[in-house]
Symmetry: C2
Subunit: 427 residues, 2 copies
C-alpha cells in the first residue's frame, strides 16, 4: 500500500537499486528502503546473512552455523520491493550502469557495493593451506574440525613429539578475532574436553597468540589491551607481541626472531583485504584494497554508486578512519538508503558521520574488555555487556532464544554443544 | 569402586573389549559394560554418535547437525573403563585377535563389530555423483545444499526448461528415508519457502517418489502403506511404484518403463550395503554384505566376536530376519555386553531374541503411520507418537530440549531453521 501511495507522486518507472552483498551493510541498506518507491535487487554469492561477530563461536564448537546465519530471502520475505538473487558478480560496467554476473546483466539506477573483506596473507598465499582464516561458515566448520581432530589425533598417537605438536595451537593476529579464538581454544582444552580423554591431558595443551605489533587489540586504549593480555594469560594463553610470522608450513610456524613453533593447528586472524570492488568500478583503493570514497560514500565521479562497510575507506567525520566493524557497516547501509532517497527527491545529502557506540572484545568465560569512551570495563562486567549486546543484535527471535539457551546450558555445564568433526578431518 | 570389587574375584588382567563403531549398537554395548571388570576401546572413524532417524531433518534444513550428533567421548566421559579412539579400521586379524587401524594394532579378548551400513547403487556407482545418498552428516549437508540451491538457481534463471528441471525433485526408494525426504521436500516447497521467492512459484515444484517394488514402506502392513501413499499425495508428492531406475545422469533419471524425468536434484534412498566386516573376519555374508551370525550373534567359529546392528544378518528367534532399525541395534548391543559377561563367568548365553516394539514412519507435518502389531495409527495421532518417540530417544538432555524448541517454533511458524547452502553449491 505504501508503495502504491508513493508511486502516485513518483516517476513512472521506479528506480532500480542493486545491492551487492547481504552482510550488515547491504542488508541494512535494503531494509531501510522497505517503504521507498524503488525496486531492489540484492545479490549475494551465499544464501545466508551471517552474524559474523559470533563466527569464532562456530569455529570453536560453541554454536551451530544455523544459529548465526539466516537465509537472506527469509529476512526480506515480507519486503515486496526486494528480490534476492544468489549469484556471483563477475564485474560492473559503471559507464553502462550494469552489473554482470555469471548468468546475466542487471542494469541499475543506484548501486550499493557491500561485498566486505576477506583475510589476507600479505602475499604469502601458500600459507592459507597451513593457517586457515575465518570469514565464512565453511571456514568456521573447517577450523572447528582442525582444532577438534588435533585432540583426537593426540589421543591416538604413541609418538611423544607428534603428540606435543598436536597439542600446540598457534593463533596469528592479536585483533578481536585472534583474541576470541585463542581464549576459546584455551577454555576448550582446559575445561570442556579435559575429562573426555584417557591417554592425554588436554589441559597441558599450549595455546599461543602471536601479534606482530606491540600490543594485542591495538584499537583499544592501552590499559584495556594490557588487561586483555592478563586475562588471556590467566586462561593459559601465551601472548607473544612484537613478533611477526616469517614462515608457515605443515610443521608449524617460524617467527621473525627465529623461534620455530611445531604445531598442527595454526589459525590466521591477521590482515584483512577488501573484495575486488575497486577493480570492478575502476576506483582508487587504499593498501587494504578498500575503495576510497568521499564523505557521501561515493567513489570519484559516481554519485549513483555507494561503497559501504568493509569495502569502503572513509573518514568518520572527525579525521579518523571508520573502523571495519558491524555497527559502522550498518550505519553506512542506512546512510546509503537515505542518500538514494535524497537524490531521488533532488536533495543534496549531508555527509556521512560515524557514530561510535563503543568497542567490545570478548576473551572467554567471564572475561572481556569494553571501551565506551569515558566508561571502560573489563572482566565479568564487560563479559555481561558483550553477551547482552551480541544476543540483542542477533537477527531473528528464534536464533536469539536458542542461542541464549545454548549459552546458558554451556555456561552451567561448562560444555560446548557443536563438537563435530566433518569433512577432510574424518579418520 | 565397582571395578575394584569385581577385580578381586576376576582374572588379574582385565579382558579387553574392542568395539568397532559407535552407532546405536556399539554405543549400547559399551554403556552396558560400564560396571564390568573389562577395559573397553571404542573405535570410530568419526568423533560423533549420530541419531540417524532424524538425519533426513538435517538434509531438509529442519535441524542443525549438532542437534542430532554428540561427541562419542562426551557420552562416555564418566565411564572410566572406556577409551575412545577416532581411527579407521583397515582389517581384523581374527586368528591373532587383533584389530589393525591406520596407526596401530590393537589386540582384543572380545570384539564387537557394529560398523553399520551405507547406501548402495546396486553396482552403478557412477550414479552416486548425480543421486547422493543419506548416511552421514556430510551427506546431509550436501543434500541440503543441493535442494536449497535448486530453488535459488530456479529464481535466477530466465530459461523456462531449466527452471522446470530445477523445480523437479526425484527421491529414489520408498522406504522410510525416501518417504520422509519426499514429504519434507514437498512441505519445504509448498509451505516454508513459498513466500520467499519473487520470480518463481515454489509451490509448483514437482516432487516424485520412485519405488521399484509394488508398495512404498514395504515392511509396513499394506493398509498403512496405502494410507502413507495417500498422505504423501495430499502433500503434493507423486508416488510412482513398480518402476525401477534404469539410468541416472546429470540431466535426471530414466525409469525402467522408459519415462525420462528431467531433474537437477535426484536423491538416493534405495538399497543398503553393510560395511566390510565380513571381509575383515572372513565370514559368510548375505546379499547385502551382512555377516551371517548364529543365534548368539557370533560368526562361525568365533565365540569371541559379536557382529551386531546393520552389519549382522540374524533371525529374530521367530523365523523372520531382524530389521535394520535403531531399536534392533540397541538390543543387539546390550545382548553382546551380557554375552561377554556370561562368557567371562563360564556361562552359556541364551540365544538373542528381538523384541519388536513397533514400526514408525513419518511423512510430514501432522502425517505419519505407526504399526504396533494390534494397534495401527495414521495421520495426526501417529505423527504425535513419532515426535514423542524421537524426542525421547535423542541422546542427551540438551539436544532434546533444543530440538523440542526448534520443532515447536517451526510448527507454529511453519519454518525451517537451518536453511544454509555451504560447500560446492555456493554461487
Amino acid at each position: 500500500m505504501d508503495a502504491k501511495r508513493d508511486q502516485r507522486c513518483g516517476p513512472e518507472r521506479r528506480p532500480h537499486v542493486v545491492i551487492l552483498g547481504a552482510g550488515f551493510g547491504g542488508l541494512n541498506a535494503a531494509m531501510s528502503l522497505r517503504r521507498a518507491p524503488v525496486d531492489i535487487t540484492v545479490i549475494d554469492r551465499r544464501n545466508y546473512h551471517l552474524f559474523q561477530p559470533l563466527l569464532y563461536q562456530v569455529a570453536t564448537a560453541g554454536l551451530s552455523p544455523a544459529q548465526i546465519a539466516m537465509p537472506i530471502r527469509r529476512i526480506l520475505t515480507r519486503q515486496s520491493n526486494a528480490t534476492v538473487l544468489m549469484d556471483k558478480v563477475e564485474s560492473v560496467d559503471a559507464a553502462a550502469r550494469c552489473v554482470v554476473t555469471g548468468t546475466r546483466r542487471i542494469t541499475y539506477d543506484y548501486l550499493v557495493i557491500a561485498t566486505g573483506a576477506r583475510h589476507t596473507y600479505f602475499g604469502n598465499d601458500a600459507w592459507s593451506e597451513y593457517a586457515p582464516g575465518l570469514k565464512t561458515i565453511a571456514d568456521a566448520t573447517a577450523i572447528r574440525a582442525r582444532i577438534l581432530s588435533a585432540f583426537e589425533r593426540a589421543e591416538v598417537t604413541d609418538d611423544a613429539a607428534m603428540r606435543k605438536r598436536l597439542l600446540t595451537f598457534v593463533v596469528v593476529g592479536g585483533g578481536p578475532t585472534g583474541v576470541e579464538l585463542a581464549g576459546a581454544i584455551a577454555e576448550l582444552a582446559r575445561n570442556t574436553v579435559v575429562r573426555d580423554f584417557r591417554r592425554i591431558d588436554s589441559s597441558t595443551a599450549r595455546v599461543m597468540l602471536v601479534e606482530a605489533g606491540a600490543h594485542i587489540l591495538p584499537t583499544m586504549p592501552p590499559c584495556l589491551s594490557k588487561k586483555a593480555g592478563r586475562q588471556l594469560e590467566k586462561l593459559g594463553v601465551e601472548v607473544v607481541c612484537g613478533n611477526a610470522v616469517a614462515d608457515c608450513d605443515d610443521s608449524g610456524v617460524r617467527l621473525a626472531n627465529g623461534t620455530e613453533i611445531d604445531s598442527a593447528c595454526v589459525l590466521w586472524a591477521a590482515g584483512v583485504m577488501a573484495s575486488r570492488a575497486a577493480k570492478w568500478i575502476g576506483a582508487p583503493a587504499d593498501r587494504a584494497g578498500r575503495v576510497m570514497v568521499d564523505a557521501r560514500l561515493n567513489p570519484p565521479g559516481h554519485g549513483e554508486i555507494f561503497v559501504i562497510g568493509d569495502t569502503a575507506s572513509v573518514g568518520d567525520g572527525g579525521g579518523l578512519p571508520v573502523p571495519g566493524v558491524a555497527p559502522a557497516a550498518k550505519q553506512m547501509g542506512r546512510y546509503a538508503a537515505r542518500a538514494i532517497l535524497d537524490d531521488m527527491a533532488g536533495r543534496r545529502s549531508a555527509p556521512f558521520r560515524y557514530r561510535d557506540y563503543g568497542n567490545l572484545a570478548t576473551i572467554g568465560r567471564k572475561a572481556a574488555v569494553a571501551d565506551f569512551g569515558r566508561a571502560r570495563l573489563s572482566g565479568y562486567p564487560a563479559w555481561l555487556v558483550w553477551n547482552f549486546a551480541h544476543l540483542w543484535f542477533l537477527v531473528g527471535f528464534r536464533n536469539r532464544l536458542v542461542v541464549f539457551l545454548d549459552w546458558a546450558v554451556a555456561y552451567v555445564r561448562n560444555d560446548r554443544a557443536a563438537r563435530l568433526i566433518t569433512g577432510q578431518y574424518e579418520a
